[in-house]
Each structure stands twice: as structure tokens, then as C-alpha cells.
Amino acid sequence: MKKILTILAIGLLIALLPYFFKVSPYVLNIFMQAVTYSIAVLGMTVVLGYTGQINLAQATFFGLGAYAVGLGTVDAGLNFWITLALGIAVATLSGFILGLTTLRLKGHYLAMITISFQQIFDLILNNWIDFTKGPDGIAGIARPSLFGYTLNDDRAYLLMCAVVLYAVIYFVWKLPQTSTGRAMRAIRENELAAEVTGVNSLKVKVIAFTISAALAGLGGALYAAGFAYISPDNFNFARSVEFLTMVLLGGAQSAFGGVLGTSLLILLPEWLRFLKEVYLAAYGLAVILIMVFLPTGIWGLISSRVAKYRKPAPIDLEAIAPLDVTVPITDPTPILKLENVQKHFGGVRAVDGITLEVMRGTVHALIGPNGSGKTTTLNILSGIYKPTAGSMTFDGTDITEMAPYERAGLGMGRTFQNIRLFPALSVVENVMVGAQRENNPIAPGQAALRERALSALKFVGMAQSAEVIVQNLPYGHQRLVEIARALAGHPKFLLLDEPAAGLNQTEKQELVALLKRLRGHGLTIFLIEHDIGLIEQVSDRITCLNFGKQIAEGAPNDVLRHPDVITAYLGESAHGAA
């Protein structure tokens, strides 16, 4: 609290500086530019830095806000505050619609679509002269009044903009610690894993894009009244690239980075006057150099240096509550039913008609030689692939058409063969993403999420590493974190794709013990595994696949000794010799 007050006081002092010292109007203009641009750039922090989605139309949203104020106050004679709200609303709405229609698509498309949107905006601004005034722009935009006091003094208007900027910084700074913000970062790190863990990725991406557009609209509206004159040149593609460069230079993953980058790039032209005509060329070169040498921006570099010296508070293992993973045991009915499920890739029948029931509270293993369709089956189960034919019922609900995050919301957890964590997030944050799935029966609030995540980590024996960045963990530990992430969502049903792959003997035995414990709590586990010894130890039932078809099913001893299974694994002659 004291820290926040100090920061606030310093910020206010900076904003009041022009009142204490004689500052030329020119310098005030530079500050005004820095403050209004910063607000738009913080939008880029949310969409690019947090969510990892490119947006090359930020100047368009900035322009929508500015033109709403310009046209609204000068042409329609509306009150500034109404046009400000209008500007934000128009920017927000266009951001929402653009996001909704394009965020289904991946990176390059998004880059392209946003550029196209930017170009169309530019064409309209320049050519729809009756409405936009064309290339001449709009002059004579008046300053607003606040509490009966007209902000004609540059210093007063700047002070107001600074206060708005502080509020935006605070919002963007705190966002990563909310569930939505954490989901955004999970998408940035690994969208597929986020979706399977329970994140509605399209929704979260649209939210990020909409926030970004809204902030740009706000910045643009303040810019218009600040400079009293706007023209299409202020809102073209070059400006969008400038916003992009600002956020990257400063550091896209932090609110402070965005402001730092903006200030630097606005001040740099002043300092680098000697470069004159080659300034923009140097600018382009700087972008490449940042990408190569400063991937996390200046702020990223600073904060990683600082983090080295700052040890996180030790975790009190005793204080962590034991994990509640218990699933009430009911009658031995099937929790999952597959009915003639098929998946074809072109002419290849990867899964060719599987009909299967998995009983509640059992460990059911899916085995088969490489290429027999095991992982494809798992991907159909978690919703990554849509089956070509067939239907699936989970816990009484038809899930055939459901998205992966919806299945997670029903209590289906999953791990991946090639571990899919959120590399740049801390261990506990990774697991919190799992805990925040829909319908998870825990108390609301971030504290409860963290508590649940720590419990899950303790359950797999990883609580002491809670604050470590997950990519720095050894492989075996990452597997455990992935299991903890699934458990934090309190699943009824756990899908494990080769959980023992890459583990040494000791780790494998720990895994066996963990699986048995989970089974003891009533969880149903469906796993793919190649380690026959492990399968014999843990499974109640085994299904064997070959060429996408079931060739055997039953108790471990029967299936593992089934002649067809031996043939599938060892080949015809080996069976003959045996």
C-alpha cells in the first residue's frame, strides 16, 4: 500500500512538473504526444504482449477515437465528453467485430487482415471528403471543460491526460493477475494446451483485441482535443507500425515497457536530430536489431536482471491444504462411451470405428504399436480433432460436437505426449490456469485459485518449485507439473498421453504410485502407454488398437497374452516362433 502511494505521488509530481518549471509549448506538445500514444500502445501490450496476437491496425482504432471527437465537436457541435464516449464505443465495437471475424485465423492472416483494415480506413479518410474532410483534415477542435473549468491551458489538459494514463497503466499492470489475463498469457504460450485446459481461447482473444481497440480509441480521442487538428496522416499504416515498434522496444509483456518504449521513440527523434533524413531508416534497422538482440524489450531485460537478485518468498509446505481430488464413487457405470468413432485424414483411416466404454473409477489403458491411432483417439476425445463419424458420450452428455474447453469444463483433464506447458509462466501460474476452468467446484477469487494450484502441486510433490519459471524445470518435473495442472481442475476423468515417456526407473515408480493414489480417490484414468510393465501394474482394463481398429479388449493378463496383440507388436513370424 505504501509503495503504491509512493508511486502515485511520484507520478502526480511528474504530471505537475510543467506548473513548477517553465516549459516551452513545444515540449508540452511532445509530452502530450507521449501520453496519448502511450494509452494506445498499452492496448498493444494487452493484445500483442499478453495474448501474442499481432495487430497492425492500432492507428485505425486510434483514428476512430480521434475522428469521433473531431467530427463530433466541430461538425455536429456535440459536447467533448459525449464524443469521447462515442469514439471509445466505435473503436471498441470495430475491434470486437474485427476480432470476432478474424481471430479464428492464425498469425499471418491476422497480420494481413489488420493491415487491410488499416488500408481501407486510410482510403475512406482520404476519399470520403464529404464526411471526413479528406486529406485536409479537421482543424479547430476545442478543448473540453471539466467541472466547469475549460482545459485550455496545455498544462491542465496534460494533467488530465496523465491521470487517465495512470489509470490505464494500473489496469494493464494488474490484468495479468486476473483469470482473463492469465488465460491470455496461456494462449500466447500455447494456445492448444490453453484450450484443452479449459480456456475459451476465441473469447479471450476477442476480449484482448477489444480492450486494445478501446484503449486506442481513448488515446485517439484525447489526442484530437490535445492537438486541435487531425488529418489522415496521423492514422496511417506507418503509425500502426510505430505503435508496434514502441511496444516491442519498451517490452511488450509489461505495462511499464509500453510507456517506456513510447517515451523513448517520441524523444529519440529529438535527440537524434543529427540523423535527419536517415532517421526512419535507422528506425527500421532498430526494429530488426530489437528483434534479434532484445526479444523482450528494454523492460524485459531490466526485469530479468532484477529478478535474479530478488528471491521469491519461500513456500510454506505445511500450510498448503491437501488436494481434494475425490470423485464420489457411484455404481460401476460407464463414464465415457464411444460409438463407432472414426477419423480419416484424406484416404488414411487413422481411427476406423472404435466402440468403447470406460467404467467409472477404473484405469483403462489404450495400447498398440506406433501409428495404430492411439494419440488420434485421445485428440478426438479431448476435442482437438472432430471425428469423421461416430458419437461420444461423457458422463451422460453428448460431447461429439463440443470444443476442447467445454470438455474441460465437464471435468475432463489431459496431459500431452510432448509436454505442453506455458513455458514462460511460473509453475504455480501454469497450474492456476488448470484451476480456473469453468465449473471447477472451488471458492471464487484469485486466492482460492492459488491455494488450489499449490495443493495440486503438493499432491505431485512439486510445491517447493511453485515460483520457478516452468521452462527452467527438468523434464521429469515438467511432466508432474502438467499432471498437477490437470488435477487442479478437479477432473472426474483424466487423459494421459504416454505419461512415462522419458522418465527414469525411479520416476516411473513414483508415477505408478501417483496413478494408484488417484484411482483410490475415485478418478477415472484413460491412458496411452508403451511401457507394458507400468500398464500391468496400474490398469484394470486394456484396449489394444492396430491400424485404427480394436483388436483386443479385456483384463490386462488376457489382452497382453492375446495372440493378435502379440502379432501386432512383434509381427507374424515372431508369433509363429513363440
Binding site: 499471418h108 493491415i115 482510403l123 484443452v196 526494429v287 530488426i288 485421445l378
Partner: protein, 294 residues
């Protein structure tokens, strides 16, 4: 022929020629996408640089045809430098840093050229002195015919290179699976360097060809690149045939849009077409839907 048919054929012809330019640049796009899985946002500036190289060599006193040859050689060398400076250091990173790096390269190229040549667009002589041939009332500009001819040759050459030579097979292998290609002894880095070199030459050629029509200007590359990239999406992302068909389609739509609806908004038609495709058929005309592997 009636006037109506003649006028429409005229529009169609100029649309196809313009589209051929988009196709040429799109081909360069597709090659790089296939080799590196990233979009080169400086692809259009290859065209711009090709045009200005031509201007420079002509100014230095080189005869027309030698200037073309020198400009193309210069573009090839530039492609190699581009690979080393813009792509190679970032080859192990995700697509986002690479895209941004190519954007930076685009700004750098445009403003460096601006510094040396100034903002004034430069005119350029046509390849052939005769200005147009008339067939059945339709006037065909010789430059447009040249563009169409050269594009056809480039497409044919590329088909031969990729489908009929061992070198082309190695390039294809590189684009499909770099690790596997490396394991069977294909020099992946060299293959990618070649791709950038070739792609820059294609871009330069497009720039040289279009210069007599559009003038040589700093901004000529950006707008061509946007259209060319739209063409690759419309045709099917990373599909060679698709990018050619997409480019031609865009050129024709644009020409008809400008003729019948509005000239100032002609660039918007291309983007509108792109939007429609992205909404209704994001995989493009020839593209296949591919799901991400878990």
C-alpha cells in the same frame, strides 16, 4: 464486335496484366512461406528495390537490357544479404519476431532508398518501343503483354525447377520438414538462402516490369505486397497455383471495380475480396484445411 464487349475485354486485359504482377510477387511470397513458414513483409519492397536498381544502372549509363540484367543480379545478392540479416538470426524463434523483423526491413529499405533517390517518382521506359497492338478493336499495351509473357515464363521455369530437378526436390523437402531434410543430408541453410535469393529476383523482376506502368516510387512495393499477399490467401496459403490464380483474380476484380464502381476505392475491392474469402473460405481456393497436431 460491339463496343460493350470490346470495353470489357480491354478491362479484362489490363486486369490480367496487373494481376500477373501480383502473381509474380505472390510467387516470391509463397516460396519463402514454404521454405521458412513465415511471411516476408518486405516482399513488395523487393519490387521497389528492383525498380530503383534499374533506375540507378540506367543513370550510370548502362544500356537498357544490361541494366535489367544487372538489376536482377543485384536483387539476387540483396536477397542473400536479406536472409543473413533479417531471417537467419531469428530462424529458431516463433513466426512473430520474424514477421516484425521483416516489417522493420521494409521500413529500412524504403527510407534508405528515399535518402538516395528522393521522394519524386521516376518514369521508366517500356521494354518495347511499340506502344500497343490492336486485335479486333482491343488495344493491348506491349508492356502489359510483356508482363503476361514474363510471368508465364517464370511460372513455367518454377514448375520445371521444383518438379523436374533434384535441386527442386531438395527445396521441397526443406520446406516440408527441415529436420528430416537435414538428416538426409540436405544443406537446409543453403536451400533457404537460395529461396531468399530467388524470391528477391522474382520481386525485382515484378518491380522492373511494372515500373513503366506505375512509375518507380518508394511506396510502390507496399501496395503491391498487400495485394500479392491477399492473392496467396485467396489462392490457398502457400499454394503455388493458388497464388497465381489468386493474383490474376485480384487484378481482374480490381480492374472491373475501378471501371464500373469507383477509381479512388479500387484498392478496397481487393481487400473486400480478401475479407469475403477469409470469412467464407479461409483455406482459399486450392488450400486444404489442416488441423494442428497435438
Amino acid at each position: 464486335m460491339s463496343d460493350f464487349i470490346v470495353i470489357n475485354l480491354q478491362v479484362l486485359f489490363s486486369g490480367l496484366a496487373l494481376g500477373a504482377i501480383y502473381s509474380l510477387v505472390a510467387l516470391g511470397f509463397v516460396l519463402i512461406i514454404r521454405a521458412t513458414n513465415v511471411v516476408n513483409f518486405a516482399q513488395g519492397d523487393f519490387a521497389m528495390l528492383g525498380g530503383f536498381s534499374m533506375v540507378a544502372f540506367l543513370a550510370a549509363g548502362a544500356p537498357y537490357w544490361l541494366a535489367i540484367l544487372l538489376a536482377l543480379v543485384a536483387m539476387g545478392i540483396f536477397g542473400l544479404i536479406f536472409n543473413l540479416g533479417v531471417y537467419y538470426p531469428l530462424r529458431h524463434r516463433s513466426f512473430l519476431p520474424v514477421i516484425i523483423s521483416t516489417l522493420g526491413a521494409s521500413i529500412f529499405m524504403q527510407n534508405t532508398v528515399l535518402y538516395f533517390f528522393g521522394p519524386q517518382p521516376r518514369p521508366m521506359e517500356k521494354v518495347f518501343k511499340t506502344s500497343a497492338i490492336e486485335i479486333g478493336g482491343v488495344f493491348m499495351d506491349t508492356q502489359y503483354l510483356t508482363i503476361l509473357g514474363v510471368t508465364a515464363i517464370a511460372v513455367g521455369f518454377q514448375y520445371f525447377l521444383f518438379e523436374r530437378t533434384l535441386f527442386g526436390k531438395k527445396l521441397q523437402a526443406t520446406s516440408q520438414d527441415k529436420d528430416m531434410a537435414r538428416l538426409v543430408g540436405i544443406p537446409v541453410a543453403t536451400m533457404i538462402a537460395f529461396t531468399f535469393c530467388y524470391s528477391a529476383i522474382l520481386g525485382g523482376m515484378a518491380g522492373i516490369l511494372v515500373s513503366p506502368v506505375l512509375f518507380v516510387s518508394i511506396g510502390m512495393g507496399s501496395i503491391i505486397a498487400l495485394k500479392a499477399f491477399s492473392a496467396t490467401i485467396i489462392g490457398g496459403f502457400g499454394d503455388v497455383t493458388g497464388s497465381i490464380v489468386g493474383g490474376l483474380l485480384l487484378g481482374v476484380v480490381e480492374a472491373f471495380g475501378a471501371h464500373y464502381i469507383s477509381v479512388p476505392y479500387k484498392d478496397a475491392f481487393a481487400f473486400l475480396l480478401l475479407f469475403i474469402f477469409l470469412l467464407l473460405r479461409p483455406q482459399g481456393i486450392f488450400g486444404e484445411k489442416i488441423s494442428e497436431k497435438a
